[in-house]
């Protein structure tokens, strides 16, 4: 296979890790909403934790994106 084509395919596969981030972010927000609906008085206190979880989950997926960018531009 040509190197250029292999790089493109590799970068595409690496970006698939963002699917995991999507699932994770959806899971975090759905759990937060479920908890907040059951006990609205405790919801406000957990909002920073929600944001922290969102940022951490999103970043894990973005590591895959960085791998893709490294494949495309650094090699």
């Amino acid at each position: 296979m040509e190197l250029e084509a292999a790089k493109m395919i590799g970068a595409g596969i690496a970006v698939l890790s963002l699917a995991g981030a999507g699932i994770a972010i959806g899971n975090i927000f759905s759990s937060y909403l479920t908890g907040a609906m059951r006990n609205p008085s405790a919801a406000q206190k957990q909002f920073p934790n929600l944001l922290l979880g969102f940022a951490l989950a999103e970043a894990t997926g973005l590591f895959g994106l960085v791998v893709a960018l490294i494949i495309l531009f650094a090699f």
Partner: protein, 244 residues
């Protein structure tokens, strides 16, 4: 060149070339934006603390809000022992926040979208936390790698995993901020390119998406500064309150 989404991350020299031995230490657009954000922080907090009125003005309110925000974050995550490190975490948070926010301006340069900048910040946090841990607890700090309540058979494996996860802290801390900034700004440029290439007929859809994306990017710019600071607090908490 303007259509290349990566062109915005290019570092170029402003003014003459300065060389220190074989190292190029010329003034670049990256250094320019670091200076701009530092000056903006200085300006806001100097103006905010000049006239200390009981009924705060807008700019004083901004300073007071950010002070109490970071102060509360530190006491919540790292306890009262972390109070002496307030000024470090506060300036770290403000610097990352302002660099991210100045990067959101059109035609500006995002300092934090370069891994060397975020890695140096994260590496100083990591070194500082390790030094503080050894100073407070001596060799007892190594107990951090031995979690309590683990069966003796699993202990060698757990210790190796803990050491690796400890050593990868600066990498994960820096790559998280860098990747978020890089991905967000690339995505905004790509959608901006769609608006141009689809023209006046089909360009409205990517344009509206681009507007929404800008809002998301402002959120991410704040969140990543927050996460950077709060993870520093959590690492500091490990070093100060060692309980296993």
């Amino acid at each position: 060149m303007a259509t290349n989404p990566m062109a915005q991350f290019e570092v170029y020299r402003i003014g003459p070339e300065i060389k220190l031995g074989s190292i190029d230490i010329s003034f670049t657009n990256s250094s320019l934006f670091m200076i701009i954000s530092s000056l903006a922080i200085l300006l806001i907090f100097n103006l905010g603390s000049k006239k200390k009125s009981l009924l705060p003005t807008k700019i004083q309110l901004l300073g007071e809000l950010s002070y109490s925000f970071v102060s509360k974050m530190i006491s919540d995550t790292a306890g009262s022992k972390a109070k002496p490190y307030f000024s470090f975490i506060f300036s770290l948070f403000m610097f990352v926040l302002f660099c991210n926010m100045f990067g959101m301006m059109p035609y500006s340069f995002t300092v934090t979208s370069h891994i060397i900048v975020t890695f140096v910040l994260a590496f100083f946090v990591f070194t500082g936390v390790t030094v503080i841990g050894f100073m407070k607890h001596g060799l007892g700090y190594l107990k951090l790698f031995v979690p309590s309540g683990v069966p003796a058979l699993l202990l060698p494996l757990i210790i190796i995993i803990e050491v690796i996860s400890y050593l990868s802290r600066p990498i994960s801390l820096s790559v998280r901020l860098f990747a978020n900034m890089l991905a967000g700004h690339t995505m905004m440029k790509v959608f901006g390119g769609f608006v141009i290439s689809l023209g006046i007929v089909g360009g409205w859809l990517p344009l509206s998406f681009s507007v929404a994306l800008t809002g998301l990017e402002f959120l991410v710019a704040f969140l990543q500064a927050y996460v950077f600071a709060i993870l520093t607090c959590i690492y500091l908490n490990d070093a100060l309150n060692l309980h296993h």
